[in-house]
């Protein structure tokens, strides 16, 4: 098991899709294929995300790892039914910016982990509020790159509150990484340093944590 975990991690960090597929096939020879998701993909992507937060892994490796895993999961879905996860209604948005990499990484990670979520692309505050309320979103993941966009989360919170919409905002991106108190200042429910942090937030909400 440890060898498979290690080999899969090394394959992803080397951005070697063939080697990653080979690990998947080795797993499938002796195990239930669909369990590759929870037993291998999720812990390895979590570890790679932590590696980025600690500075030992690059963002490019995180991004390419997510892409490789997403393709593997798509291939798995074609062959075997995947476990259905219970989770809140989730959407993800890039707020008032065109830099979509952070959103893409989180979206790809969550899909690879078996979550389904709506992708709003790049939107302003008003459009985000309208769509989230129309879609009855419970958790809104907000990605930002620049400080002004991060500060705009305050307006998002204000508009949801004015409409009595219980939407939990989870923020991520460079401004929140460089100022670890900023997420509280803008009224977010939580901040994600890595994509996996979002999963912990969902678990907390499902478990009734506030």
């Amino acid at each position: 098991m440890n060898e498979l975990l290690n080999d899969f991690e090394q394959a992803l960090l080397a951005v070697d899709a063939v080697a990653a597929r080979e690990v998947f096939d080795r797993w499938g020879a002796e195990n239930v294929r669909s369990e590759f998701l929870d037993q291998i993909i999720v812990p390895v992507l979590d570890k790679i995300g932590d590696g980025w937060a600690e500075g030992s892994v690059s963002l490019a490796q995180v991004y390419m790892s997510g892409r490789i895993c997403e393709k593997l999961v798509d291939a798995m879905i074609l062959r075997d039914p995947m476990p259905v996860r219970s989770h809140p209604r989730i959407a993800i948005v890039v707020l008032e910016d065109r830099h979509i990499l952070g959103k893409t990484i989180v979206y790809s990670f969550l899909r690879s982990c078996g979550f389904s979520l709506l992708d709003y692309g790049c939107l302003g505050v008003d459009d985000t509020v309208k769509r989230a309320i129309d879609d009855k979103i419970e958790v809104l993941l907000v990605s930002t790159l620049m400080l002004p966009s991060a500060l705009r989360v305050k307006d998002l919170r204000r508009q949801f509150d004015a409409r009595d919409a219980d939407v939990k905002i989870v923020v991520g991106g460079a401004p929140f990484r460089f100022d670890e108190t900023l997420w509280k200042e803008v009224g977010a429910y939580a901040m994600g340093r890595t994509a996996f942090d979002a999963v912990s937030v969902f678990a907390g909400i499902e478990g009734g944590a506030s």
Binding site: L13, S58, Q61, R98, H99, L147
Partner: protein, 352 residues
Amino acid sequence: MGPSMSCSERVLTAMGHKEADRVPFLLSATMHGAKELGLSIREYFSKPENVVEGQMRLLRKYRHDFMSGMYFAANEIETWGGEVIFFDDGAPNAGEPFITKSSMITGLTPPRIENSNLAQRILKTISLMKERVGDEAPVVGVVVSPFSVPVMQMGFGRYIRLMYEERPLFEQLMKVNEEFCVSWADAQLAAGATAICCFDPVSSTTITSRQMFLETGLQVAKRVIGRISGPTVMHMGAGACGQIVGDILSTGAAGLGVSSLDDLGVIKDSCRGKVTILGNLNNIEMRNWSAEQAEQEVKKAIASAGAGGGYVLADNFGEIPWQVPDEVLMAISDAVFKWGQYPLTWVRDYEG
């Protein structure tokens, strides 16, 4: 103590790895000049005279040591024919990427600087700055590295895939970008810039692994810095460089812009006597700093990197957000004047 040095003398001494009269510092308040003149950010950047006047006022007000010809990083995208989006409270940003599929790289040629209104305004700004300050203060020109500008040209994800999956097209894009970057840097030097700051966040290990950097970004940096006709600072734009600092020494860069993610003292040890370092005040956190916090951060940075010269105190990103209050910038300035006077006798007993 003799008469104090001019800004230029102070910076040159520091970059010669000697101690000047005090630690030189650069406050990259590229937008704060608009506040000084009572203009919106869009109005401010619409005329070279505005930027020159704004930066002159900030030079006197903050008593820092540089004039910066920088408008905003996305200005290069306008030259390439792309879209720049203005905001009321932040730096203009690049719009939708104009390379929408990698095959478009095949037909790409470097844009002509003389055809870009924005590039011409920047060149005029630098020229007017040089007229105003003469040799009193260095004027900094700015380029985005050929290795980093594709983030705006084609989007981050598509560019990373190009790096890993389509190396020949990647190399072709670098070739075109290098031609533009060198000509853009040289045009700014010809207009009066003293040195060039080349922003290259993609080279940082926050964005690409050291292995990828050695294969790609390092080679680009060596080629470009070798061709630019003046001293060039390689700036990581808030990305970490601790793992590649030894490699960066081989690029020929005169300086290195360091992130707050890095240990300034460790980077200084690696660069001592070879490359001047700039940094690394946290430009996002400083928005909420008190005067006391600002003083402590300045002390910490000077204690880490000030001794022996080869250090310019600056922020970690190369652009101070619009939201950072003047009081904080004034407090940083006061602290440099208080704690940055050479010799730094207090550093021996500094415990942070």
